[in-house]
Amino acid sequence: MKFTLSWLKEHLDTNASVDEISETLTRIGLEVEEVINPAAALHDFITAKIEKVEMHPDSDHLHVLAVNTGKETLQVVCGAPNVHEGLIGIYAPTGALIPAYGERLKVAKIRGVESMGMMCSEKELMVGNDHSGIIELPTDTAIGMSAADVLNIDPVIEVSITPNRAECLGVRGIARDLAASGLGKLKPLNIPEIKGSFKSPITVSVDCPDACPTYTARYIKGVNNKAETPKWMKDRLTAIGLRPISALVDITNYINYDLARPLHVFDADKLKGNIKVRMAHNGEEFLALNEKSYTLDDKCLGICDDEGVQCLGGIMGGLNKGSYEDTTDVLLECALFTPTCIARTGRKLQLDSDSRARYERWVDPMSNISGNNYATKMILDICGGEASEMEIAGAEKFEAKPVYLRPERLKTFVGMEVSKEKCEEILSHLGFTLSEEDGKIKAVSPSWRGDIECEQDLIEEVVRMIGLDNIPATSMKTADFPKPVLTPLQNNIVMVKHELASRGMFETVTFSFTDSDIAQYFRRGQEPILLQNPIVKELDEMRPSLLPNLLIGAKNNIARGYADLALFEVAPEFYGRNPGEQKAVASGIRVGKTSKKDWTGSMRAYDVFDAKADALAAIAAAKGPIEAPQITTDAPTYYHPGRSGVIRLGKNVLAYFGELHPAVLKALDIKSNVVAFEVFLDNIPQPRDAKSKAKKKLELSQLQAVDKDLAFVVARNVSAISIVAAAKNADRNNIVDVRVFDVYEGDNLPEDKKSVAISVTFQPKEKTYTDAEIEALMNKVILEVGKKTGAVLR
């Protein structure tokens, strides 16, 4: 909401400066977003008189002036066509910052003649649009005066109006609030009653008083819509960003912003029959002023003539029967429409307007008749014509439910003592009708306030007028000793992030939605969860996995020349559309190589075991059982079928890991190799919360452990984990560790076989092993591994 200072002063009698006004506005809840005050840039500029005009010796349009600034007479070169001796204008001395150019004026030689300053146009000072010549002030203007004092400067103030303060969408509402804050006096608004000299040939009737409780109309004949809108009105409309169109449109716009009072003007000659206010028919078409056609339903309110809906009540006029330049007879509408109907229609049709913004909040229900009179007077004054009597359907009424304020609640609710008298003073200045009931203040809202419903609303009125800065600040009292606050899952999420970062990965945060064209590969058989109104096509699906966005991120990094990278994110993925159908996932990718090439030759391409290590580290950081899980090879289809795995406890999937499927990477146009993991943090079983934090007693043997190597030949499809498990199981008392140290396929072995070499650590407990004992233990391993996996010693 914008307005100018002069416009405000139309309603508010005040001497306050623009700065005082804008500080006060913000303090009472009308937040100032911007103040545009051209005067602030005009310190250096003064009035000056042109004493003498001579032609520039080397130009046919430049003049050399002698300019009297009141202190001295200076030589100024000027190109304006309107220079003449005796002209009093605005002089910019050298060094002045010219607002329009943002540059300081220097002593200049213009075609060989020195110029000590400049005579300015309106546009150069940004106080108007005129650039056809320099400013010409009245001849009796004193010279040497500050430019800001003599120019007609009207600062523009923009405030942000919260939805509860509908009346402040009119300048008068803002003036009233400022007056209540003590910054001036609200001027009376004199609205004459216009009787009218004839009966309106067009009558009005309302079928649906719930949606339109009051409808007033006035026929005005013989108006001249070609009449010039007065300059003051044009200036104000322009200043707040509205383009002057025609006198009638300008008047309705002006009153909309002046009094927050929407109006509409029909071309009466185009209306067929009488005005009927009714709900639209399902499927009824309406061609709006914005030249778009809307299909209405029976919950949209239509202002209709015999030919259908001519105005979408309270939202937008129709294209066909509005006022145009040659309009001579008009029907002026000033009506009340209820917020729910307006909001619902506006939302359904996605149609915004200044009128809708006011009606869906609150329009003063007692301003229909007065608004009609006010507008009629203005039309007659500007466009001439003759007014009919007012047509009124329905009656104006406003019955506010009284709200009670217990003054002691200021202390117990706000924490600030405010006297009953002070509360009453503030509320009465705001227009409330007050009385007392059982020691409580009984307050009845003025008709322009539709937002006061409970005691807290009245408390807010008092508090904002006193100023929130006057409320003391008291620190929160904590009775208990501070305790850990994160739940196990919340804490695990923090730990997993730090663990993955410590593994050299970069944490990223990406949107919860992704591109359905990419997400389709990652849905694991689920239905897509699509947004009804995505902001762009590429963000249309709630992501079924974190990988699509990580891959898009990787792709962008690769395109910037960062081809080797490791990214992770810990965030939700969505498996259903209902609230709560989401899981916390830690997911990461490694792309390309471990590093760029370096002299130690440590660089290598990332492989599935990097992803597996990341997954296991994340599970461990989340306190998961990393010893117990099985590893199966049934990862989702977006992974490489032969180079991926699932870490699980039976049916419970803790993680997927692996190389990504080349076909998926190709579809994303990623040419690098990518390994990935997804750890499902909700699925990780948590250790029982043991009472004691003490660790189990540690039994350490003093005897030397013995490592022995064994190489097996086994079918290629036998997993390493089954060989290791069988070896460990061969003798749990003596075997403490089993490691795979070599895997070989190829020459010297049948095609369907591979060699797997393991190193087994035996730990004696009571005495060192004899050769025979070691031999026996190794035989046990060979036997057990052979039995479980079909492996034979190589």
Binding site: N164, I459, S475, G504, F506, S512, A566
Partner: protein, 369 residues
Amino acid sequence: MSDIDSIKNSIIEQINNADNAKALDDVRVAALGKKGQITELLKTLGSMPLEERIALGKQVNVVKAELEAKIAEKKQALEIQLLNEKLKKEVVDVTLPCRPEVQGRIHPVSKVYEEIVAIFAQMGFDVAEGPDIEDQFHNFNALNMPPNHPARQMQDTFYINNDVNNAFDMDSAYVVRTHTSGVQIRTMEKKRPPIRIIAPGRTYRSDYDATHTPMFHQVEGLVIDKKTTMADLKGCLYDFMKAFFEVDELPIRFRPSYFPFTEPSAEVDIGCLKTKTDLIIGAGTDWLEVLGCGMVHPNVLRAGGIDPDEYQGFAFGAGIDRLAMLKYGIPDLRTFFESDVRWIKNYGFTPLDFSSMTSGLSNNGGVAR
């Protein structure tokens, strides 16, 4: 000079002249070996008279011990010399770089989350959560925003059809939550007062420019008991912001505002100095909006099943990303979500940078590598 002395001196000279282990060993064998000079000398003792034998024997043994020590000493010296020569050939250029390793990073949003939790934990707040896809009851209606409430227009909401088998219906559709305020209601549904929670999380609005992204992060706060006032709200936020920005003094301004779910409502600005290149928090004459707050509206308490005549309290909401931008001088919100590794490396935090009120909120992870 006796014979023994001259033999000794001759051998010592040979020891001194030996320039490698082999030569030294030859000297040792020649002197002390089975047929060495000293050994031979000892062999002659048997034929001597007793007194002479004792005297000479003693003398020879002293010389023998002396020579053995000399040889050992020389042997060690030769070994050191040999090692030194070997080491001289083993020189590497230690100015070469180390094996490549990458220090990971924690995203600013995660870091600021940890800082916020650390501060509010001191004030007795638990951390609550709610779903990202919400029903309209929890996201709007229960927060005093019935379907046609104009405040719904303030927030550009993303909708999700709640039933794929039916046509989209805006009134029954789910929304992707526009704020974390719904967690207030979910908390009240589960827990009786006194309540003290913060609810950090992802929030979504259909908006995209330098200061708006379709997803961002908010932290919601809720306190409900029988006597919490707006003065406590001010104190709580004042303490939070001073702790968060890690400054001793911070100008803070409370402005009346409007949110459907609080009454009275306020927006909070902090004092700062804006220059062409920098933003200094706590100094200067400019104001920056950092959060919205107010006393919980009685209708919201009722929707959460709490009697507003008995209980009261406050709520607030702040942008986590915005707090991160202000504290850590990050200029553009959009860059938070672009996964640009250069950005993450620069604005991210080291893996050991945990936040606590004892060790401090920031700068705990050492210098970033």
